[in-house]
């Protein structure tokens, strides 16, 4: 195995671990503030999208969803399918939209599509009621704010990483 490849795999695994911890923080926050999931783990997916590329980003996001649901005992439960569809739509949007959008609108659109995916699954399979439209529209409007915050944080981190040269991992 080449050294570069090894460095890449190590760095990716560190980032996956970071994503899992950020997502768990999100889940703990939702226990006290329901409906408030900021999507902290998408900082990591944005960083990987800009650092490495599309393939690595999609792998990391899917692994993150699987591992977090395994840790929290939610594998193949309704919550798992809701989060999986949300994250899959986010991946599709990031893959298509990286060319066309800046990093902050990209993150805002990601949060919007996450909500759309969750809404479709909830509406089709769990709560077939028009009244959930109100709560989801409020979540989408708040998602613009949280998406902007997440995009800004990812931008700052990317700039700092580039500036300080933390990537120069020598083993």
């Amino acid at each position: 195995m080449k050294k570069n490849q090894l460095t890449k795999i190590l760095f990716l695994s560190i980032l996956v671990a970071g994503a899992i911890i950020l997502n768990s923080t999100d889940i703990i926050l939702t226990l006290s503030f329901p409906y408030l999931q900021i999507g902290l783990s998408h900082i990591v997916s944005l960083i990987i999208l800009y650092m490495y590329g599309r393939k690595e980003m999609s792998f990391v996001v899917i692994f993150k969803v699987l591992l977090v649901s395994l840790i929290w005992g939610r594998l193949f439960s309704p919550v798992f399918f809701i989060s999986l569809t949300g994250n899959l739509l986010v991946i599709v949007f990031y893959l298509i939209g990286k060319k066309h959008f800046n990093i902050i609108p990209l993150s805002i659109g990601g949060s919007f599509f996450n909500n759309i995916g969750q809404f479709l699954i909830v509406y089709c399979f769990f709560i077939n009621n028009n009244r959930i439209l109100i709560i989801f529209s409020i979540m989408m409007i708040l998602g613009i704010v949280s998406g902007a915050i997440i995009g800004y944080i990812a931008k700052i981190i990317l700039k700092k990483l580039k500036k300080e040269g933390i990537y120069d991992l020598s083993f």
């Binding site: 570069n4 460095t7 890449k8 800009y50 650092m51 490495y52 066309h100 959008f101 800046n102 990093i103 902050i104 609108p105 805002i108 659109g109 919007f112 028009n130 009244r131 439209l133 109100i134 989801f136 529209s137 409020i138 989408m140 409007i141 613009i144 931008k155 990317l158 580039k162 990537y167 120069d168």
Partner: protein, 127 residues
Amino acid sequence: MFKLWTKIKYRRWNLSDYLLIIFILIFSLFLFIIGVVNEKDYENLVIIRKSGSIKKYNLDVNKEINIGSHLVQIKNGKVRVVNAKCPLKLCEKQGWIKDGQIICVPKKVVVSVYSKIDVKKIDVMVK
């Protein structure tokens, strides 16, 4: 690998970026308006759900509805279960309700009552 790093470039904000945000705002406001308009449908309404089937009735029309295991009565804007064929008969003991739900767990029946919105705003009336 390290050359990848120099590729990171931030595009400036273009028209497409603004259009995306405006589209998201308009779309979510549109959904909100649809939801608020739909909310008015849930007024003066009795919904009886029994193992998948959903039936809707008007709250103003006095009526007795037989749904096999239960006999539901609608009278003067109030709803009650007259006769239930379940062991504890908790739904029968709940009596008349103006707003809220009567739930029978063993027979999987939910009777939801949505009264007029101005009735909901008043918690208690003291005379």
